[in-house]
């Protein structure tokens, strides 16, 4: 039955997390934006509270009578939205919630899960010469007796400095292309693994973004994630890398949800500031009969809601085991550009108050920019959607 409202359980979680975000994250927003690279220790408390409530893990979701589920994916987008309404940078700095943790829980063996499951794990994919074309990475892993030897340089590793473990993408043989790309668990402190730099960024400054170099870094043979064999034929090769990339189908909606959260934060604050000048959002006269600023506010509300529904659809499809690659990319594309547009426009509409560091509007805008970049840029999402809609392969539509 068609219904696009959150269930009461999900709504309750959203409300609780929003309250927590307001009281336990917002007070530190500006502090850690200013003190870039300082560990936001207060977030440990937040992580503890979330851990106690386990909103994500416990949300398996009972199916309705007709077998429909609202499960962990819907809970994830609900939670990410609420926490990024609080603060995107601090949310990303929450210990134990890295992308590496998502990869571990998705593909780790029981032994690996036992050893690494509870650790704070970052994900290292991007290299100085390789961004969106992640099949082209140059970091190598060579088996030497009972150990893998890793060499290469990784950049833009979110949580790279503060994490305990890094999930590193490396190739076993670059000439074999995608099929030879595997991911490896490298514990921090392993000789040869070194954080060489922390980025100074436009936004999400509370989140540490590291460059990590691997020189003859030796890790146990058992630290490879997934199948260690290199696929022999084209079919298997496609499947192997496809499997790696598919994890993105599950992580894109949550990142899109982050844009929904920061977009909402900007809209709420802008509306609060504008209300003091008696400019209010109203759903009375039709948009073409409103003042420019009023029309802009309702238009942004509409764009925000549209993006949110696309995110919820992608999550719902994942919860109900429907393939959602196209829809996941659609929601990431729409939410990413909506978040950028709405936050920047809110800065403009509030004039000097928007631009000033006294309030948070300018920070929301800076924080939102990354959400249209990481986890697949706007353009990569458009490419994926276009291929699906047009029925094209990656060699036809490059």
């Amino acid at each position: 039955m068609i219904n696009l409202e959150l269930s009461s359980k999900h709504q309750e979680t959203a409300d609780n997390l929003r309250m927590m975000a307001e009281h336990m994250m917002r007070p530190y927003s500006r502090k850690y934006d200013k003190e870039e690279h300082t560990y936001p220790k207060e977030m440990e408390e937040v992580a503890k509270v979330i851990g106690q409530n386990r909103p994500v893990a416990s949300a398996k979701g009972k199916p309705s009578d007709d077998g429909v589920k609202n499960g962990s994916n819907m809970m994830a987008v609900t939670a990410y939205e609420a926490m990024c309404w609080g603060d995107t940078g601090l949310m990303l700095a929450m210990p134990g919630r890295g992308l590496g943790n998502a990869a571990i829980s998705a593909v780790a063996t029981p032994e690996q899960l036992k050893k690494f499951g509870g650790r704070y794990a970052a994900m290292a994919i991007t290299e100085p010469g390789t961004g969106s074309d992640s099949a082209n990475i140059s970091t190598t892993a060579v088996l030497d007796g009972d150990e893998w030897v890793i060499n290469g340089e990784k950049i833009y590793v979110t949580d790279g400095d503060r994490c305990d473990v890094v999930v590193v993408w490396a190739t076993l043989d670059k000439s074999l292309g995608k099929a030879a790309i595997k991911s490896f668990l490298v514990e921090k402190g392993t000789p040869g693994c070194e954080v060489t730099r922390l980025e100074h960024k436009l936004g999400i400054r509370a989140s540490d973004t590291a460059a990590i170099s691997f020189s003859d870094c030796r890790i146990p043979k058992s630290n490879i994630l997934g199948n260690p064999e290199v696929a022999r034929n084209a079919e298997e090769r496609k499947k192997a890398f496809g499997g790696v990339m598919q994890t993105f189908d599950n992580t894109r909606p949550p990142v899109a949800a982050m844009a929904i959260g920061v977009g909402r934060a900007a809209l709420d604050l802008a509306q609060e500031l504008l209300a003091k000048e008696n400019v209010n959002v109203s759903y009375g006269k039709k948009p073409s009969n409103l003042s420019a600023i009023e029309a802009e506010l309702v238009s942004m509300e509409a764009e925000w809601m549209a993006a949110k529904l696309l995110v919820q659809r992608a999550a719902w499809m994942a919860d109900n085991k429907q393939p959602n690659s196209k829809e996941a990319s659609m929601c990431k594309a729409k939410a990413g550009r909506m978040g950028n547009y709405v936050t920047l426009r809110c800065v403009e509409l509030c004039s000097s108050l928007g631009y000033s560091e006294t309030d948070l509007l300018e920070k929301f805008a800076r924080d939102s920019k990354i959400l249209d970049i990481f986890e697949g840029t706007q353009q990569i999402q458009q490419l994926i959607v276009a291929r699906r809609v047009l029925g094209k392969s990656s060699s036809e539509l490059k």
């Binding site: 219904n3 409202e5 609202n70 759903y283 948009p287 509409a302 458009q382 276009a386 539509l397």
Partner: protein
């Protein structure tokens, strides 16, 4: 807050209805779209054929000869979408009597239901409509200038209405006016009372359904013409029609998308299909994304209406969003076909003209 789960699954019945409506839209609407547009008139016999869909019959109580199916804004929106995928004008024409019927069921008295509804259960198409919009640049549903005043045991109506679908022929017209001292009210006009003038309109688009300007000059109506027992829930009426208009937009935009995908995959330039180029492909990706968002916005408002929740804001936002993006998709549809898009050899220019109406239309297709 609701105990329902978020769900995008259609019921079996909705799926089956969609199949038959889509078939009808393809054979009867899409096939006649160009002819209807050229002639600024609905092809003869078309409306009688629409009777097989039972659109008007469905919500009418069994006791009055109808099927007595509970009104479902979601199902109605799906039907509007599927018909509009064939042609927006003819979809609008097909659904226009339903606006009258649904509003009488929704807000009329028992006596009015008994008097007017049985005529929609027969073998012939009954042209009925709602006269809502008014001909001025800043027209707004919240500020009607057509007036009604009580004079003895009659109501006297004055004012102008425009874009009244089927307005030239309709023998039953629900006219919405501002009743002096009361607020918005609706009146059922039968036949051709003195002082009512009708004139056929020609518009940029929506030419497949005959639109009319109506002028009311001291039109006197009996007391019994007042819909319901008093006030008219204008907001509810406007919001339900906004959902319908959004659904028309979704259907037409789907037709645009389907067409450009096929065209751009076949059209070769510089030795390969133009859809192999990102500049073309990305436009199509955005069209598909915004179209899906339009549909979700429409469904959300319809589902809220169906559940009896307050759906005003959802309907407003859906209309705002669809008004904006439907036009963009219509424009991009022409653009992607290049010079071909500008000619009447292809339907893109027709969709472009029709989609301009989405942001403008109010009060049509009440789901």
């Amino acid at each position: 807050m609701s105990d329902l789960l978020f769900d995008l699954t259609l019921s079996d019945e909705q799926r089956m209805t969609r199949e038959s409506v889509s078939r009808f839209a393809e054979t009867e609407l899409a096939a006649l779209a160009r002819e209807a547009d050229d002639n600024n008139a609905t092809p003869e016999g078309f409306f009688d054929k629409t009777l097989e869909l039972g659109l008007g019959l469905m919500p009418i109580p069994e006791a009055l000869g109808g099927a007595g199916v509970d009104r479902s804004p979601v199902s109605n929106a799906l039907t509007a979408e599927d018909l509009s995928r064939g042609d927006m004008s003819l979809a609008l024409g097909s659904l226009t009597p339903l606006g009258f019927i649904n509003t009488v069921i929704d807000q009329g008295t028992d006596a009015q239901k008994e008097k007017y509804l049985p005529s929609f259960c027969g073998e012939q198409f009954e042209a009925a409509t709602v006269a809502f919009m008014e001909p001025r640049a800043t027209f707004d549903p919240s500020e009607l200038q057509t007036s009604a005043r009580k004079d003895g045991n009659e109501y006297v109506i004055n004012g102008s209405k425009t874009m009244v679908a089927l307005g030239v022929d309709a023998q039953l017209i629900l006219v919405v006016a501002e009743l002096e001292g009361t607020g918005p009210a609706a009146f059922i006009v039968e036949g051709n009372p003195e002082g009512l003038e009708r004139s056929a309109q020609e518009n940029m688009g929506l030419r497949g359904v005959q639109m009319a300007d109506l002028s009311f000059n001291d039109v006197r109506l009996p007391e019994s013409a007042l819909l319901g027992d008093g006030g008219f829930d204008l907001q509810r009426y406007v919001d339900l029609s906004r959902i319908g208009i959004c659904a028309l937009a979704v259907g037409t935009c789907q037709a645009v998308l389907d067409y450009v995908v096929e065209y751009c995959n076949e059209r070769v330039a510089f030795g390969e299909p133009i859809s192999n180029r990102q500049s073309v492909a990305f436009m199509i990706a955005d069209m598909a994304t915004e179209l899906d968002a339009m549909r979700l916005m429409t469904w959300r408002a319809a589902a809220q209406a169906e559940q009896g929740s307050d759906f005003h804001q959802q309907a407003y936002l859906a209309k705002t969003f669809c008004g904006e993006h439907a036009m963009k998709i219509g424009t991009d549809g022409v653009q992607l076909l290049g010079g071909h898009g500008f000619t009447k050899e292809h339907p893109a220019e027709l969709w472009y003209r029709n989609l301009r109406a989405i942001a403008i239309l109010e009060g049509a297709v009440s789901v």
